[in-house]
């Protein structure tokens, strides 16, 4: 049953990406332009001795920043857009449940964006002349990281379902995520408790320092999995609470 929900939402995401082509292209262009700005900034102003390491750091952090924004705020955008269109109530009437539909929409969104980001990464690496290490070790690290991000996505979606207009908050959140993806754990170790930061840090090490799965300790795995489980559960519980508040106040059909 959920598989069919996933297929339906994946088709919708891809179709709308084609139909809203200018929007898709601007997303890709923004990714590339921000990277170029950072790249030339480091090349011109930065210390030439550490430029290579810095550029690698910027490439991967930039990619994660985009992924984080997409995974954590797009569920909120989806809710706002559906409420504006008048389709949110239809989704909420599915016997599958609104949280499951939004989750499937998110999975579809993330998978699509991952493909775009991977392609952009190749373009960025070619521009920078810095080739990062793509290792399969990234996959088991990336998975719990994304689950943790989806948990925060549920929180944002829950707030959207009640307040609808949270664009200002989403703008601020983008810069919070910027800090969380760019600051390494060696600088602020307590950020390990924050959502997804541990995963981003480890993936960065895989891609820039050639860290393998065997180099990860039990504590690293425990931290990754616990982080994903805690933030996903908290996000889901918060979203369900918000959905109930919205139904109690008759907000699902309002915009």
């Amino acid at each position: 049953m959920l598989y069919n929900v996933l297929v339906a939402n994946s088709r919708k995401v891809i179709i709308e990406m084609q139909r809203y082509l200018p929007n898709t292209l601007s997303l890709v262009a923004t990714f590339y332009i921000i990277f170029l700005a950072m790249f030339f900034g480091i090349s011109i102003i930065g210390d030439p001795a550490t430029a290579e390491a810095n550029i690698q750091f910027v490439i991967i952090s930039n990619a994660f920043w985009f992924l984080a924004i997409m995974a954590m705020t797009s569920m909120g955008w989806e809710v706002t857009t559906e409420a504006t269109r008048g389709t949110l109530e239809q989704l909420a009437m599915s016997p599958v449940g609104l949280p499951a539909i939004l989750l499937m929409r998110m999975v579809a969104n993330i998978a699509t964006q991952l493909v775009i980001i991977a392609a952009m990464l190749v373009l960025v690496m070619w521009t920078a002349g810095q080739w990062l290490n793509f290792d399969l070790a990234m996959v088991p690290i990336l998975l719990p990281t994304l689950i943790s991000m989806i948990g925060i996505g549920y929180v944002v979606a829950g707030l959207s379902i009640i307040f609808k207009q949270i664009q200002a908050l989403l703008q601020i959140i983008q810069f919070v995520f910027l800090g969380m993806t760019f600051v390494p754990l060696s600088v602020l170790p307590w950020l390990e408790l924050a959502p997804f930061v541990k995963g981003v840090d480890l993936t960065r090490q895989v891609m820039t320092q050639g860290l393998g799965l065997g180099d990860l300790g039990a504590l690293d795995w425990l931290s990754l999995i616990a982080n994903a489980a805690v933030y996903f559960s908290l996000g889901l519980v918060f979203f369900r609470w918000c959905e109930r508040v919205a139904r109690r106040q008759g907000l699902l059909g309002q915009y």
Binding site: V7, A8, K12, I15, Q90, S94, R247, G250
Partner: protein
């Protein structure tokens, strides 16, 4: 017919956005719907119709009272109850305008867990039935309002649910499109055995499609009866007598004293009376005979459901009291 929906004593108040005052939307609404029944949910603007429909759909949680669908409590077992329900709540706003007709049908079916393969044949049949076959690959925002409305109904039908709730299905449609939607709904009611709840201000639609109506006013049920019963109740009393000469003052005073009557003098004198009992017609004739006033025609006024609705709403009394009048 067995009972499929039971709405028991639901009440709902909203807090106003500014200030701490609350507005009562529903004040204890109760009714039930039998399997296969076509029920009209009527009421003036702000009566609580949409709140009632959305409460049945589980989109609004009532302050008190319960709704059960096929034995499932809508609040406690919402997802199970939702298996039996689909709804057209805001017509064309329930659709994705940048998807095609077919993509909309496939998407909403997918969200209820059905694969494209499972619904392919049904979609083709619905497109044919709704005369949208040549529009299957058209974007929804290129369709007319009437076609969008038909598509929204098709989406609800494709869900395969036993109950379909329709909030103002003909609102904003031109005469032709409204008639076509009405025909489609009649076909669904007659041939598919689905249970329909139709909220509408379009009284000809209600009179044509619904077997029974629940009329809500001020957040409470003021009438719950068969459409035919309500029509009979009001129609039996209304007579229109066209006269060949004006009434004398003596006739007028006797008429006013005995009946609730109105008299028009456009070209002919037309007397409209409400008779409490059928035999009261003889008293009316007696008054006319006083001056040997020529009677050109006696018509029983054909009351339509719009007039019934207005009388019920203006009286705002439960039907049993209306019966006793």
């Amino acid at each position: 017919m067995s009972q499929l929906i039971e709405v028991r004593d639901i009440a709902k108040s909203y807090r106003q956005r500014q200030g701490s005052q609350t507005v009562k939307a529903l004040g204890g609404v109760s009714f039930s719907v039998q399997r296969g029944e076509v029920l009209g949910l009527l009421g003036p603007n702000g009566a609580g119709k949409t709140t009632t429909i959305k409460t049945i759909c589980g989109l609004i949680v009532p302050d008190s009272g319960t709704v059960t669908i096929d034995g499932f409590d809508v609040q406690r077992e919402r997802l199970k109850a939702l298996r039996s329900i689909s709804a057209v709540l805001e017509g064309n706003r329930n659709l994705y305008w940048r998807l095609t007709v077919r993509e909309n049908l496939e998407y909403f079916a997918g969200n209820r867990g059905a694969s494209r393969r499972q619904v392919r044949a049904q979609i083709e049949e619905l497109l044919r039935q709704f005369r949208l076959a040549d529009k299957g690959n058209e974007l929804v925002n290129h369709l007319s309002r009437g076609m969008q409305q038909k598509l929204a109904i098709a989406v609800a039908l494709l869900a395969g649910s036993e109950i379909i709730l329709l909030d103002e299905p003909t609102l904003g449609l031109d005469v032709e499109a409204g008639y076509e939607v009405r025909q489609l709904l009649r076909d669904i009611a007659n041939n598919q055995g689905r249970t329909l709840i139709i909220s509408s201000h379009d009284m000809p639609v209600v009179q044509d499609l619904c077997q029974r109506v629940v009329i809500i006013s001020g957040g409470r049920v003021v009438a719950d009866d068969q459409v035919s019963n309500l029509l009979k109740l009001f129609a039996t009393r209304a007579y229109q007598v066209t006269l060949g000469a004006p009434l004398s003052s003596a006739q007028l005073s006797r008429l006013q004293a005995r009946f609730t009557a109105s008299i028009d003098h456009p070209a002919k004198t037309v007397v409209r009376v409400n008779l409490e009992h059928g035999e009261d017609i003889y008293e009316l004739i007696e008054i006319l005979r006083l001056e040997r006033t020529p009677v050109e025609a006696i018509d029983r006024t054909t009351i339509n459901f719009e007039q019934v609705f207005l009388q019920v709403i203006n009286g705002a009394k439960p039907l049993e009291e209306t019966h006793a009048l």
